[in-house]
């Protein structure tokens, strides 16, 4: 089947829906868009109506309901589903259902087996170790025996002191847990047994599985990502460089991303940054090849101040910050859109180029503009936006689902979702220029609004301005 004959269901909302829509248009594909009652005013609905008319637009009860999406896909005659990020993007059951149901659809993302394989952190860690990819020191399987747990903990403390870490810390976590539940730090071997038993009993009660993981707690690190892309054959994955996502708000939420991951030409590091970037890229590609990775994906790494990398996890989806990698990349000298590449390859087209065709230049910065209050723990802000203007420039691309607003026709932020407003991607030939252009953009940005009580809009613009100077530094 020619890829132009496909019709893509966009199973998402907001900014990513807008970008998928545009990518589909660019590739000449038909699409179906969904929205819920809260999202009637969202930009993605307006754009879908403009580009595809009423017939490609369905109101559904919830983005979280797979049945809703699939029944719409059937009624609209869609042949593929793009999950975007969030919602069903990393749900291997959804991917499996899409691919194995009576009326089969194409899941635009990795095959469900890959999602399952890499969705499990323990499994990812084991896979990495089997290939010699560095991972966080500690156990790579649930430990059920107290003696063994103590042995691992003792070795971890000893290992850290050998590494010259003054205050070694060990993490004890329930292997069946997640999202910060059943996880504790231990600073002292004497306290370990107590903590271990507490976590084990908690895990037994909560998850009916008393397996416990014991790891070194990595302190003082940078958060790096490697962008990978592969076609359905999965044999020749390519990378689109690295990103540095260390600037985060409380609760480990990314706010500002920079590509490439390090810039040794303008910042001085204690280690050979170029070699390190190359190392993590090669490790990531090795793993992608091993599992037959067949879509876009991101390998997440932490790098310590001493330049030691550890693989954390793999995100088997297109990420929010994909645009910043695209901004510094050229394929055969042409600009690239990773979302379009993802759709194109997922529908069966071969990649058509190899790593040597991809070149990198300059520095990209992505700002996430969010209605939130940095002064009170980044609490989401809800209300009406009545002014949102910025100055266009050829070095800037801005993605937003907020429709054009005026004081008379404001946009109300729906309370059901995160109050993300826009992604701004700024490019500069080096770090200095990128930073200057970023500040320039933020300085000219006009973002105003008020909530139900008349209080003015709170956003993270100031926070982003302050952080611009810290990019790519430890």
């Amino acid at each position: 089947m020619n890829i132009q004959q496909h019709k893509v269901l966009i199973a998402n909302r907001g900014e990513i829906a807008v970008r998928i829509l545009r990518a589909c248009r660019k590739l000449g594909l038909d699409f179906v868009c969904v929205y819920t009652a809260e999202d009637v005013c969202s930009g993605h609905v307006a754009l879908a109506r403009e580009l595809g008319g009423e017939s490609g637009l369905y109101r559904i009860s919830s983005y979280h309901d797979a049945n809703e999406l699939l029944s719409v896909a059937d009624d609209a005659g869609a042949t593929a589903v793009h999950p975007g990020y969030g919602f069903f993007a990393e749900d291997f059951r959804f991917a499996r259902r899409v691919e194995e149901r009576g009326r089969k659809l194409v899941f635009i993302g990795p095959s469900w087996r890959v999602i399952r394989e890499l969705g499990d952190k323990i499994n990812t860690k084991r896979l990495a170790r089997s290939l010699g990819v560095p991972t966080v020191p500690g156990s790579d399987r649930p430990i059920y025996d107290e003696m063994e747990a103590e042995k691992v903990a003792r070795s971890l403390f000893d290992y850290q002191s050998q590494q010259g870490i003054a205050r070694p810390v060990v993490l004890v976590k329930a292997s069946a847990g997640g999202g910060g539940m059943g996880i504790e730090e231990v600073h002292d071997l004497d306290l370990f047994r107590q903590v271990y038993r507490r976590i084990r009993n908690y895990a037994m009660r909560q998850f009916k599985d008393d397996g416990v993981l014991i790891e070194q707690r990595i302190m003082d690190f940078n958060h790096l990502e490697v962008q990978i892309l592969s076609d359905r054959r999965g044999r020749h994955p390519v990378h689109f460089g690295t990103r540095n996502c260390s600037i985060q708000s409380t609760g480990r939420q990314k706010r500002l991303e920079v590509a490439p991951g390090f810039d040794p030409s303008s910042v001085e590091y204690r280690f050979d940054a170029a070699a390190l970037l190359d190392e993590i890229v090669q490790h990531s590609l090795k793993m992608a090849r091993k599992v037959g990775y067949d879509s876009v994906g991101t390998w997440e790494w932490v790098v310590t101040r001493d330049g030691q990398p550890f693989l954390m996890e793999v995100n088997t989806r297109i990420q929010v910050e994909n645009g910043v990698s695209a901004a510094i990349s050229r394929v055969k000298g042409q600009p690239v859109d990773l979302i379009a590449e993802q759709i194109r390859t997922a529908l069966g087209e071969p990649l058509g180029y190899s790593q040597s065709d991809i070149t990198f230049r300059g520095v990209g910065v992505e700002y996430r503009l969010i209605a939130e209050d940095p002064d009170s723990g980044f609490a989401p802000w809800v209300g009406d936006i009545d002014r949102f203007d910025w100055t266009d420039a050829e070095w800037l691309s801005l993605h937003t689902h907020v429709p054009p607003v005026t004081a008379d026709a404001p946009y109300t932020i729906p309370t059901e979702f995160d109050p993300n407003l826009a992604l701004a991607i700024v490019w500069g030939k080096d770090l200095e220029e990128a930073g200057a252009r970023g500040l320039d953009f933020l300085g000219h940005l006009r973002l105003e609004g008020h909530d139900g009580r008349g209080e003015p809009l709170r956003s993270n613009v100031e926070f982003l301005k302050n952080k611009t100077g810290q990019m790519l530094r430890f």
Partner: protein, 216 residues
């Protein structure tokens, strides 16, 4: 606060509410053989275990689901033109005219004549734990509120914040929200009856008992 007689006259002129029966989700609709103008029922039985009148069946992913009426009333309209078609979530399938019962009229009037504390923003609301316990066990009318009391917990976007009550002191006469649903900004949360108004409340009730005959 409006004059009770005026509200009463208004209610008497149109002693019913009209509510649409909407599709809860997408799917193909198949109407049952109910007729326009016939009487429909809400859930009945001691434990509300008998569902309301079956209006239509909506099938999604080969999973049929019955759509039933939530309140007693008269079926004003059935959108038969949708029979056998695929509908979006929220599409109107039928219209039910529900005649107000005496109890509903009373609560309407009280809402007009007493102080209602409204939701400042669209969010989910819960009572503070100690109040919640009291409301659940003893009923809301045992809870007295005064200005500045920490009465609610507002849950919005995965964050929770306390909300203080503002308004005259008195007892909570009625609770108007569902703890599991989002409440729109400006929608009433509770009806508060100050002690000096208790008499007039009794008055309203006896007046309704006298003047209102259960419709239909």
């Amino acid at each position: 606060m409006r004059d009770i007689a005026e509200v009463m006259a208004e209610l008497k002129a149109a002693p019913y509410t009209e509510k649409a029966v909407v599709a809860p989700h997408t799917g193909v609709v198949q109407f049952s053989d109910v007729e326009e103008g016939s009487e429909v029922f809400g859930p009945t039985g001691e434990w509300q275990e008998i569902p309301g009148t079956h209006i239509a069946t909506i099938t999604r992913e080969r999973n049929p689901r019955n759509i039933v009426t939530a309140e007693r009333g008269i079926l004003r309209k059935v959108c038969r033109e949708l029979d056998g078609t695929f509908v979006e979530a929220g599409t109107m399938l039928a219209l039910v005219r529900h005649y107000l019962t005496r109890q509903e009229v009373i609560s309407r009037l009280l809402m007009e004549s007493l102080y209602t504390f409204c939701a400042p923003e669209r969010a989910r609301y819960y009572f503070a734990p100690d109040v919640d316990k009291k409301v659940k066990i003893l009923g809301c009318r045992t809870v007295s509120v005064q200005e500045g009391m920490e009465l609610f917990i507002v849950s919005r976007m995965k964050r929770e914040a306390p909300l203080c009550y503002a308004g005259p002191s008195g007892i909570i006469y009625e609770v108007c929200f569902d703890q599991n649903r989002n409440v729109d900004a400006g929608a009433p949360l509770i009806v508060v009856c100050p002690p000096e108004q208790e008499e007039s409340v009794e008055d309203v009730i006896s007046r309704v008992e006298r003047e209102w005959s259960d419709g239909e």
